[in-house]
Amino acid sequence: MNDVHNEKGTNKSLSLFFKSSFIVSAVIIVISSILLYFTFTFDIVPPILNRGIQPATFPKALLILIIALTLLTYFISLKNPWKNEKKLPNSFYITLLSFVVFITVSKFLDFFLGIALLSIIVSYFWGERRVAYLIMVSIIFPLIVFVFFETILGLRFPPGIITNLYYG
């Protein structure tokens, strides 16, 4: 009986770690702590040049404030739990993945190609199957935007296999 009770208690305490309020608070506190550590690596200004406070003081104060408020939010959530969020669908992860594809392709191959690939991935996996529409959204529209920015705003896009062809 005791074992069952203990097991239930363990499950309850374990489940705390999987609650969104715990995970979100932990992520904020960990990132803030890392950033707080970095503030100690900022250069220190000699007193004669120092304007009021050291350059690191203000970010330090902000990060400590964020950590304190996050802890407060977490303790409030123990009394008033956050609502349970639905599991994210595959379409979300595919869209997120398309961002990675865009970054990789735009960095190593071509900016325009990156936009075209992302557009076709998103449009296709969000349910578009008509080829004409896929071409419109991934080639024709980005081309119009590209030419508009290039001619009206005089923008020079980063070099790449397709952009270089355009610039000759």
Partner: protein, 492 residues
């Protein structure tokens, strides 16, 4: 007051009229499309404004602001999805009325009350902004610091969601503003050896990321959602009976919206909720609310449009944005070399009154366009997300890249998009981040300069009456949610 005649100047400039016309149409389209709205739209169009002169650029942004705020009502009434957060309260009665076959009447009331609210708020702007600007002559660094703190605490306490989460978001926004070379000592902060970060993180990557890209991720989770769209035959002007029922509500909500708008916080959304709640409280038939009450539509719509002019008051008079969209407008002013504040009122009255006049005209224009074109604008909601969002992505990427021609800006935009998505998912509003980013330099700069003036003595802040007043108001603002919660608990 001698400058009042300048309000009519835009009427005599064909260039400004063209800009106003296209700004209003663009604003309506943005307002109609759920997930976009004037803030994201304004941020997306900022790079394009570089081809315009400063007045035309700001007129374009303000026209988008006014028309976009109204446009949200069209979607709220016809598909029960607010085009903008400020139109959320409009859904409550707009959609039930549309379901009863009175979509035209609901839209007619939304249009008329939006125009009245919008015009009333511009009148408040015209008279109140110069007064506030005059008061700002009394402000030194400590007063501006206290004012910025007041703005952030107001945003936390009366904004959407949890006040503590709003404060965390605001502090995060200020933290972003510290990235780059320290403007007083030129020491690198959070640059991690990346040269592009020494100039700091720009406003556009953050705002486009937090609004447009995070919304794209949100839409990716809703691709199977089906909207029940109510057919619209034509927009009808409200009947005499409708006017009799709603005129007091419209006046009350216009006042509420203008007042809430002036407070440095997310005006439109809060204003519409309060306007709606007050309309219900004063109504002879509160039981009709939520079932298609015409007063409910009038209360919400007059209030959210009245917040537009109100939010421009602190933006122009003090350089403190009154809402997320006015933060975009403030950025527009800054990148065009216009510094808001009392000097702007003294040195460039024609510029300011041109903006006031343009806002008046924009309200009249969206009345005409909304009245005769609502049916066409409603069709825009038929553009499927699977085509719309890849196109918005292309514009977002090119727009963000265009300002500094920096690929790092594009990556930052994506990063903030992901951050924004998770923030919204877990109940953190992204608006305080934007306001924090805008106010960050002001908060830190004025704090450090004040400490130089006070020789490091923090207590000297308390010897400045205006600063002290703002600090006391900040404390009241922070304790307001606690009092509200205690009252609620007591009632339970």
């Amino acid at each position: 007051m001698e400058n009042l005649g300048l309000i009519f100047a835009p009427l005599f400039s064909y260039k400004l009229l063209i800009v106003l016309f296209f700004g209003t149409i663009f604003g309506l389209i943005l307002g109609v499309l759920p997930g976009l709205g004037p803030t994201t739209g304004g941020a997306l169009i900022l790079p394009f404004t570089m081809t315009l002169d400063p007045l035309s650029a700001i007129v374009l942004l303000t026209a988008i602001y006014c028309a976009g705020t109204y446009g949200g009502a069209i979607t709220a009434i016809l598909i029960n999805t607010p085009g903008t957060p400020a139109a959320a309260a409009t859904c409550l009665d707009g959609y039930p009325l549309a379901q009863k076959g009175e979509a035209g009447r609901a839209l007619g009331m939304a249009t008329v009350s939006s125009v009245i609210g919008g015009i009333a708020s511009v009148v408040v702007l015209i008279f109140f902004a110069p007064l506030l600007a005059n008061l700002a002559y009394e402000f030194g660094q400590p007063e501006y610091f206290a004012l910025a703190i007041f703005g952030l605490t107001m945003l936390a306490s009366i904004g959407e969601g949890s006040p503590i989460k709003n404060l965390i978001a605001g502090a995060f926004g200020i933290l972003i503003s510290t990235v780059g070379k320290d403007f007083m000592t030129s020491i690198d902060r959070f640059t991690f050896g990346i040269n592009e970060l020494t100039e700091g993180i720009g406003f556009i990557p953050v705002v486009v990321g937090l609004f447009a890209i995070s919304e794209m991720l949100t839409q990716s989770t809703l691709i199977n959602q089906i909207f029940n769209r109510v057919a619209l035959k034509a927009v009808k002007l409200p009947s005499i009976d409708d006017y009799k029922k709603t005129w007091k509500t419209i006046i009350r909500s216009s006042g509420i919206g203008s007042f809430i708008g002036v407070l440095p916080a997310e005006g439109g959304t809060v204003a519409s909720l309060i306007g709606y709640a007050e309309a219900k409280r004063w109504s002879k038939k509160p039981e009709d609310f939520g079932k298609g009450s015409i007063e409910g539509i009038a209360g919400a719509e007059a209030a959210n449009n009245a917040a537009t002019g109100g939010a421009m008051v602190p933006t122009l008079a003090l350089g403190i944005p009154g809402s997320a969209t006015t933060a975009v407008i403030l950025t527009g002013l800054i990148i065009h070399g216009v510094r808001p504040g009392p000097d702007l009122f003294r040195e460039q009255p024609e510029f300011l009154y041109g903006i006031f006049g343009s806002m008046l005209i924009a309200n009249i224009l969206f009345f005409v366009l909304g009245f005769f074109g609502a049916k066409i604008f409603a069709r825009i909601t038929l553009v499927p997300n699977k085509l719309l969002w890849p196109m918005i992505f292309a514009v977002s990427v090119c727009g963000t890249y265009s300002l500094n021609q920096s690929i790092i800006d594009v990556w930052l935009m994506l990063l903030f998009g992901v951050i924004g998505f998770f923030m919204r998912r877990y109940g953190f509003s992204v608006v305080p981040v934007i306001i924090g980013l805008i106010l960050g330099e002001l908060v830190e700069g004025t704090l450090r300069q004040s400490l130089v003036i006070f020789d490091g003595n923090w207590l000297m802040f308390l010897q400045r009456p205006i600063a002290l007043t703002f600090f006391v108001l900040s404390l009241i603002a922070l304790s307001f949610p606690l009092i509200k919660r205690k009252k609620k608990n007591d009632k339970v």
